[in-house]
C-alpha cells in the first residue's frame, strides 16, 4: 500500500473516526483480487479504541433524538411503486437466473481451468456473491425472483409434506455455517470444476428439500442463501409489502416488528455476523500462532476449522443472549428475553451489510471487466484479462461504508427500543449492553483488519 493511501486511511480514521466505527472485515472469495488489508501509521491500540469510541459516540448522538413521532416518521416514510410490468420482469428474471445457473455448470465443468478467465468462477464470486448481493441491499432483493433453484423447484411436483415447525430455520443456520466452512477451507474461488460440483451438490439438496416440503416452505425456512438475501433486501430502499413494491429509506425496514421471529432466526442473524468475522480471523497471524500448538499436538486441521467455526458461533450467540439478559435487567422490563432478542437482532443485519459492501465493492469493480470479457466469450482462455486499477482514495469508501452500517444499526436499534418501551430513558438504558457488545465487536473487527493477511495455516 502506498503512503498516499495510508495517509487517506489515517485521515479518515482521525477525522470521521470519532464519529463512527471504522474498518473492513476481510473475507474470502477474494483470492482472485489482491484483497489488501489496510496498514496504518497510528498505533494499533489507538486505531482500535478510536473505532470503539466512534460506535459509543454514535449511540450517544442517537440518544439525543427523543421525539417519538420523529423516529416513527423516519421509519414509516415511504410510497408505493406501481408495477405494471411485474409479470414480464418476473419471467425475464427467472430466465436470467436459470441461464446463470446453466452457465455455471457448463463453463464450470467444460470451460478453461484458469480461475481468472473461467466464467463460472467470475459469475459466482464477482457477479453473484459480490455484485448481486450489493444490488440486494442497495436497490432491492432481486434474488427472490432470480433464484434459479426456486424456479426449478416450482416447475417440479411436490410431496407437500408439512414442514416441521419445531425445526424452524435451524437448517438455514447450519447451512450457512457449512457453506462458509466450505468457502474458507476449500479452493472454491480457484478451481472451476470444484465450484461447479459444489453448486451441483447444493442444487440436488435444495431441489430435494423443495420436492419433499414444497418450494414455499423450503425457501421460507430452510434455505440459507434465500434467507441471507432476504435479510440483505430488508436494508434496501425498495421493498415489498401487502400493496406491492414500496419505496422507503435504506435500513429503516429493519425496525419492523416480527422481521426476526423466533430463536432460530435470531441465531441466523448472529451467524451472519459471525461468519464475516471468522472469514477474516482465520487468516491472521494470531490464529496461526494460536492453532500451531494444537495442530502439533495431533489435532487434525480438518477438524480444527469446523470446530472453531461452531465454537465461535456458540460464543457469539452466548454473548448476544447475555446482552439481551443485561438489557432486560437494565430496562427493568417484564418483556420476555425472547421478545428483546428478536427485536434487537435485525440491526445487526445493517452491520453485516456495511462490512459486505466495504469488502466486495472494490473486489467487484476490479474484476467486473474480466467478468464482462468472460460473458462475451465463455470458452476462450485469454492470457491477459482486463481489470480496473482502483484509485488511492478508494479505501476511504470502504471505511465510510462500515461507518454507515454501524450508524444505521444504532439508529434502528434506537427506534426498536422506542417501539418496545413506554419510557424513553428506559429505551436508552436498554441499549447499553448492546452498545458495549458493538464497541467490542468493532474493535475485534478492526484488529482483524489491521493484521497482515497470511495464507490459511495447516491446510
Amino acid at each position: 500500500m502506498t503512503s498516499g493511501r495510508r495517509r487517506t486511511v489515517a485521515l479518515v480514521v482521525c477525522g470521521l473516526g470519532w464519529l463512527a466505527a471504522t474498518g473492513t472485515a476481510s473475507a474470502h472469495g477474494g483470492s482472485l483480487a489482491g484483497g489488501g488489508r489496510e496498514s496504518l501509521t497510528i498505533p494499533t491500540w489507538l486505531f482500535l479504541s478510536t473505532g470503539g469510541a466512534a460506535v459509543g459516540a454514535s449511540f450517544l448522538l442517537a440518544s439525543f433524538v427523543t421525539d417519538r413521532t420523529f423516529v416513527e416518521r423516519i421509519h414509516g416514510w415511504g410510497r408505493p411503486l406501481s408495477g405494471g410490468f411485474e409479470g414480464i420482469l418476473r419471467l425475464a428474471g427467472q430466465l436470467v437466473g436459470l441461464g446463470g445457473l446453466a452457465a455455471v455448470f457448463v463453463v464450470g465443468f467444460l470451460g478453461p481451468t484458469n480461475a481468472r478467465t473461467n466464467l463460472a468462477i467470475l459469475l459466482v464470486w464477482v457477479g453473484w456473491w459480490a455484485g448481486l448481493a450489493m444490488t440486494t441491499y442497495l436497490v432491492g432483493n432481486s434474488w427472490a425472483t432470480l433464484n434459479p433453484f426456486k424456479t426449478l423447484a416450482q416447475l417440479l411436483p411436490t410431496l407437500d409434506r408439512p414442514y416441521p415447525d419445531r425445526v424452524g430455520s435451524w437448517p438455514a443456520v447450519g447451512g450457512l455455517l457449512v457453506l462458509v466452512w466450505l468457502e474458507v477451507v476449500s479452493p472454491l474461488a480457484d478451481q472451476p470444476r470444484l465450484l461447479a460440483s459444489v453448486v451441483a451438490g447444493y442444487t440436488v439438496l435444495t431441489i430435494a428439500g423443495a420436492l419433499v416440503f414444497g418450494p414455499d416452505d423450503w425457501f421460507a425456512h430452510a434455505d440459507p442463501v434465500e434467507r441471507v438475501f432476504r435479510y440483505y433486501g430488508r436494508f434496501a430502499p425498495i421493498g415489498r409489502d401487502e400493496d406491492g413494491l414500496r419505496l422507503r429509506l435504506p435500513g429503516m425496514d429493519l425496525s419492523t416488528p416480527r422481521l426476526v421471529d423466533g430463536p432460530d432466526e435470531v441465531a441466523f442473524v448472529v451467524a451472519l455476523l459471525w461468519v464475516t468475522t471468522y472469514d477474516g480471523l482465520v487468516t491472521t497471524p494470531a490464529w496461526r500462532d494460536l492453532t500451531t500448538p494444537i495442530v502439533d499436538a495431533g489435532v487434525p486441521p480438518h477438524l480444527l476449522y469446523p470446530v472453531a467455526l461452531a465454537v465461535g458461533f456458540a460464543g457469539f450467540l452466548g454473548v448476544y443472549r447475555l446482552a439481551v439478559r443485561l438489557s432486560r435487567d437494565m430496562s427493568e422490563t417484564y418483556l420476555a428475553p425472547a421478545v428483546l432478542a428478536q427485536r434487537f437482532a435485525p440491526p445487526l443485519v445493517a452491520i453485516a451489510v456495511g462490512y459486505h459492501f466495504a469488502h466486495y465493492l472494490g473486489y467487484f469493480l476490479v474484476l467486473a471487466p474480466s467478468l464482462a470479457v468472460a460473458l462475451t466469450s465463455p470458452f476462450a482462455d485469454p492470457a491477459v484479462v482486463p481489470t480496473i486499477e482502483l484509485p488511492e482514495w478508494f479505501g476511504a469508501i470502504a471505511l465510510a461504508s462500515v461507518i454507515i452500517g454501524h450508524l444505521v444499526a444504532i439508529w434502528v436499534a434506537h427506534a426498536a427500543a422506542y417501539d418496545l418501551f413506554p419510557a424513553r430513558l428506559q429505551a436508552i438504558r436498554s441499549q447499553y449492553p448492546f452498545i458495549a457488545v458493538m464497541v467490542f465487536y468493532t474493535m475485534t473487527s478492526l484488529w482483524v483488519v489491521s493484521q497482515p493477511e497470511v495464507a490459511l495455516p495447516h491446510l
Partner: protein
C-alpha cells in the same frame, strides 16, 4: 418467516394469545398491569406512559392526567440524561484529540 408476516403491529407485545411467551414477570415482583392489554410494568409511571402511547383514545380523565404527569417527569429526567451524554461526548472528543496530538 415470510414477508407477509411483517405488517406493523401497533404494540408488538400486546397480544393476549401468546402472553406466556411475551411476558416474564418474576413471582415476587410487583407488576402494574395495563387494564386495556394486560401488559405488566415494573413502575406505575411506565404504565401511565404506556396507556397514553398505546391506547390514547380509550383513556379516562384520570389516566390522561397520570400520562401528562409521567410525561413531564420523563422530560425532566431526559434533560438530565442529555447533559450527561453531552458531557461524555465532549470527554471522548477532547480525550481523543489530546491522545492524537501526543501519539
Amino acid at each position: 418467516m415470510t414477508d407477509t408476516a411483517t405488517q406493523p403491529v401497533a404494540d408488538t407485545a400486546a397480544t393476549d394469545t401468546d402472553e406466556e411467551a411475551v411476558y416474564d414477570v418474576p413471582a415476587d415482583a410487583t407488576a402494574y398491569r395495563c387494564s386495556y392489554c394486560g401488559r405488566p410494568f415494573a413502575r406505575e409511571s411506565w404504565l401511565a406512559l404506556h396507556r397514553g402511547l398505546a391506547h390514547p383514545s380509550e383513556l379516562d380523565d384520570e389516566e390522561v392526567e397520570a400520562f401528562r404527569a409521567a410525561h413531564d417527569e420523563e422530560e425532566e429526567s431526559l434533560s438530565t440524561f442529555r447533559l450527561q451524554a453531552l458531557g461524555a461526548l465532549v470527554l471522548i472528543y477532547f480525550g481523543f484529540l489530546m491522545v492524537y496530538a501526543l501519539v
